[in-house]
């Protein structure tokens, strides 16, 4: 039952906010809907923890430990982002960058976007998964171009077209999957149900699935932001409003990777080889290395953290590609850490850029003077994402690298160099932003930094101590991914 709440609340929220318009308190209503979604997601998670995998709605929805954890994460970040966007968007409006009509679009699309992601996560049907992924893209295209500046339009266009092409390839992969499944399961709606497919995966035609996986990986991989299909990502992150950057980076990329992983489980079962894993490792490693070196050359702070997202998604893809219990566990952990940390960073960056009136790092200085909380928030977030202990990112990166040393020693130097380069460049750029000298006056208002510290607190906690139920949860999910 909870599942219907989880899906229904954001979609209802989208419609309601579209109708509600500018009658006031729209940001609060937005946050309220997100909170309701979070509560429903928590209830769903509690039920899964208690009862195990759940197949509801005549098999149309399937929730196991893998996706319920993503559902919870998505709902949480969606809620905190809604909290953050309330003051942020108000100030953007005061600056004259937004109008009421656009805010209405923003709130409505935001809820629809969250709803689409949750649908993608919970559906059992690989076709619906595709549909909702595309729906999530469409919901955000107009959000990326919300400022209507030439650059934001260009970014949104690139986002639309590249992800459109990617998703079209994924559709072809889905068609091939159905084609293989149909012979075993017979035609009709059930042949695309993941649970059904999972049951017969060993009988699926290997050649077809091989090809299908290539298409699915390239297709959904475009959305994950894997190099060389990443070029939409920095643009969309840099030019869209900051809350949108936060949810794109923190959530959409995860959901896309989730789609890849669901396919990988099937393909592994059918092929019995490491083909899928190797492909993912290749793409992942390439993304890590290329992104790390591109970070060095960035001048725009949001772009820089967008490339950092590519790097981390590459790392997660690499971890999942290695497979095995530890690597998958690390991958899931890193997914969580990255979502929480990266969205926290974007919150802090959002306030910083709003204050400075620019996204160029050279022009942002001395945040610690203008607002100490903001300065520390950005600094701690940066330290966390760079994998400094005791933050959780360290734990997951450590696990990934040690596993890589055992299983694929050749990859370790690349990973270490890339992480080192990323560390040096990001830290070197953020440090003067926080501690440099500035003439700017103090912030006239208190930024909404609760979400930042909430996220960072969670990341810190998970770095020191993973609660046993969460660990069990991860372990189950890792086992599911072929651990």
């Amino acid at each position: 039952m909870e599942i219907y709440w989880v899906l229904g609340i954001p979609l209802a929220g989208g419609i309601f906010l579209a109708l509600w318009g500018n009658r006031g308190h729209a940001p609060e209503i937005n946050a309220l809907f997100s909170l309701a979604t979070l509560l429903a997601a928590a209830a769903l998670a509690a039920r899964i923890v208690a009862e195990g995998p759940l197949l509801v709605g005549q098999g149309w929805f399937f929730i196991d430990s893998f996706n319920v954890f993503l559902v919870a994460l998505t709902a949480l970040v969606a809620f905190t982002t809604a909290l953050f966007s309330r003051p942020y968007m108000r100030i953007e409006k005061e600056h004259g960058k937004l109008t009421d009509a656009r805010l209405r679009l923003y709130h409505s699309s935001y809820q629809v976007f969250i709803g689409m992601m949750l649908l993608a996560l919970t559906t059992n049907n690989m076709g619906i998964l595709w549909v909702s992924m595309e729906g999530a893209t469409l919901a955000t295209v107009l959000l990326v171009s919300l400022y209507r500046t030439p650059a934001s339009l260009e970014a949104a266009w690139k986002y639309f077209i590249l992800c459109g092409v990617g998703i079209a390839l994924a559709l072809f992969g889905t068609i091939l999957l159905y084609f293989a499944a149909e012979k075993v399961l017979g035609s009709g709606g059930t042949a695309l149900l993941w649970t059904q497919l999972n049951g017969v995966k060993a009988q699926l035609e290997p050649t077809v699935l091989q090809l299908a996986f290539v298409f699915l990986l390239v297709g959904y991989g475009t959305k994950v932001g894997l190099v060389p299909l990443h070029s939409w990502l920095p643009d969309a992150h840099a030019e869209g409003p900051t809350p949108v950057s936060a949810v794109l980076s923190g959530l959409l990329l995860n959901v896309a990777l989730y789609a890849v992983m669901r396919s990988k489980v099937l393909v592994d079962g059918a092929l019995g080889t490491d083909m899928a894993g190797n492909l993912m490792m290749g793409f992942g490693l390439l993304s890590v290395v290329v992104a790390a070196f591109l970070i060095k050359r960035q001048t725009d702070v949001k772009r820089m953290f967008a490339y950092s997202s590519i790097e981390h998604m590459g790392l997660i893809t690499f971890a999942f590609g290695m497979g095995g219990a530890v690597a998958s566990f690390a991958g899931l952990l890193h997914m969580t850490m990255h979502s929480l940390t990266k969205s926290a960073i974007f919150f802090a960056v959002g306030h910083a850029t709003q204050k400075a009136g620019t996204q160029l790092m050279d022009d942002i200085r001395g945040l610690i003077q203008t607002n100490p909380t903001l300065g520390w928030g950005l600094m701690l977030g940066t330290i966390a994402i760079l994998g400094v202990p005791p933050f959780g990112v360290f734990a997951s990166e450590f696990l990934i690298i040690t596993t890589a040393m055992h299983a694929h020693p050749w990859a370790t130097p690349f990973l270490l160099i890339a992480l080192g380069v990323a560390f040096a460049s990001i830290f070197g750029k953020v440090q003067p932003m926080v501690f440099g000298e500035t003439e700017l006056p103090k912030l006239p208002y208190q930024p909404a930094l609760t979400p930042v510290f909430l996220h960072l607190g969670l990341v810190l906690m998970l770095g020191l101590f993973i609660p046993p139920y969460l660990a069990t949860w991860y372990r189950q999910a890792a086992a599911l991914l072929g651990g």
């Binding site: 970014a155 266009w157 072809f172 643009d235």
Partner: protein
């Protein structure tokens, strides 16, 4: 050749689809491109309907109707309107000259025929051999997307790609389950709607639909 006549007609329509894909690749005018797109949709709808009739797969009638309404009537009409309203420059600008594009196209066709061969042999449908054509259509549309400069041509390329995918689904498996097909159609519809808004936004800021203005964001 021991196929029944309806299926021979389907084969002919498949060939026609490929021919239209090439014609789109060589088309120099935006309006011509839209017309060709409508024709492609018509060929697609016709072939889907014939398959539905000859194999008794009734859900394919819905797909055919959906294609007819969306891709032959609604979208071309919408595009014509946009072209008229925005007064888009008639010439399609291509980044590669057209003969080169065509040559690449031929290579893509050979590639996709080869790729499709092992798969189509496994298919249980009567018109499996058209899978290669469907794949070729997808790749040709993709080629059109990456070689064209205008926003509207890129979108038509995208939709043509979707046509190819749709045809692939029909030829390999008699189409996807109806729910999925409806979802896809909905997505495409919303996508085109979003694009309509988008065109106006682009037009407002750049006073043109030419994407060469949109080259500020480069990988640095």
């Amino acid at each position: 050749m021991s196929l029944s006549y309806p299926l021979q007609v389907v084969n002919l329509l498949a060939a026609l689809l490929l021919l239209i894909s090439f014609a789109m690749l060589s088309q120099r005018r935006v309006v011509g491109l839209i017309t060709l797109f409508a024709w492609q949709g018509a060929a697609l709808a016709a072939s889907t309907a014939i398959i539905a009739w000859s194999t008794g797969q009734h859900h394919l009638y819905y797909s055919a109707a959906l294609t007819l309404i969306l891709k032959v009537i609604a979208m071309p009409w919408f595009f014509y309107r946009i072209v008229r309203q925005l007064d888009v420059n008639r010439e399609v600008e291509s980044m590669l000259n057209i003969p080169t594009t065509m040559l690449i196209g031929i290579v893509l066709v050979i590639f996709s025929f080869n790729l499709a061969l092992p798969i189509s042999q496994m298919a249980g449908t009567v018109m499996r051999s058209t899978l290669g054509i469907a794949m070729a259509c997808v790749l040709l549309a993709f080629l059109m997307m990456i070689t064209r400069r205008k926003a509207i041509t890129q979108v038509i390329g995208f939709l043509a790609m979707e046509n190819g995918l749709f045809f692939a689904a029909t030829s390999a498996t008699y189409g996807m389950p109806l729910v999925v097909e409806l979802g896809v159609a909905l997505d495409v519809l919303v996508g085109v709607f979003v694009l309509g808004i988008f065109f106006f936004q682009i037009r407002e800021s750049f006073e043109s639909l030419d994407l060469k203005h949109m080259e500020k964001l480069r990988e640095k």
